[in-house]
Symmetry: C2
Subunit: 136 residues, 2 copies
């Protein structure tokens, strides 16, 4: 199977497949006599695994670890769970930061009349670090 077909099957672009090979996330694919990469069922499984991991937001570094565990029949599920938990915490941290920013900005936005007048509490806050009413 050529790289394009493998890409379509797994949902990983050819570009990324080559990239993953280059950074050593996946083993170098076999080649035809003329240099085309060829992929078998095992390779497709790995690529799908990577794609599902990416869909869940895992970083390449984390996926590297997950792949190693996946291929290790003597693995401890605790190791997998630890990686997942760390990732969950990371994501929750990001959500908290976003939530704070959204909250602040929504408050400012609510106090901005949003018409043709130049007076604007959002800019006020950005330029002074304080709101007019000082309420947040």
């Amino acid at each position: 199977m050529n790289i394009g077909e493998a890409a379509e099957t797994t949902g990983v672009t050819p570009k990324m497949i080559r990239h993953y090979e280059q950074i050593g996330l996946i083993r170098a694919a076999g080649r035809t006599g003329s240099g085309y990469r060829i992929y078998g069922p095992k390779d497709l499984s790995t690529l799908s695994f990577i794609r599902r991991s990416r869909d869940l937001g895992f970083s390449i570094a984390q996926i590297r670890d997950l792949l190693a565990l996946w291929q290790d029949r003597a693995r401890a599920s605790g190791d997998v769970k630890r990686i997942a938990s760390a990732h969950i915490d990371e994501m929750k941290g990001k959500m908290r930061l976003l939530q704070e920013m959204v909250h602040t900005l929504e408050h400012l936005s609510a106090h901005c009349h949003g018409d043709d007048r130049p007076d604007c509490p959002i800019l006020e806050r950005l330029s002074t670090g304080r709101t007019e009413d000082g309420c947040c």
Copy 2:
């Protein structure tokens, strides 16, 4: 005022100040005879404005627009509000994606016993795209 002092005052690193100058986000600073950049109160305001905008998660492109509006005395607050709203929507979108990933992963994690046994629903899901109980 030198770049280091300006950086300390505004909370923008010297590196980023130079970068912002290079990409045209801020005007090129004045220079001493020996080539040192010099910053006045107006520059400091601008830098602080940028930093507060970054703290609220605005992109450089958005800040470029906000700065233009800030310096435009004939601005309409509606324009500012539109930028803020777009940004809020972006952030909410990101939060939603994170929330979905966290939700899925927490579910998988809850079903993973997390001990020394190799059996693991997280890896199961990553490799097959399905959970054992098929419940999500």
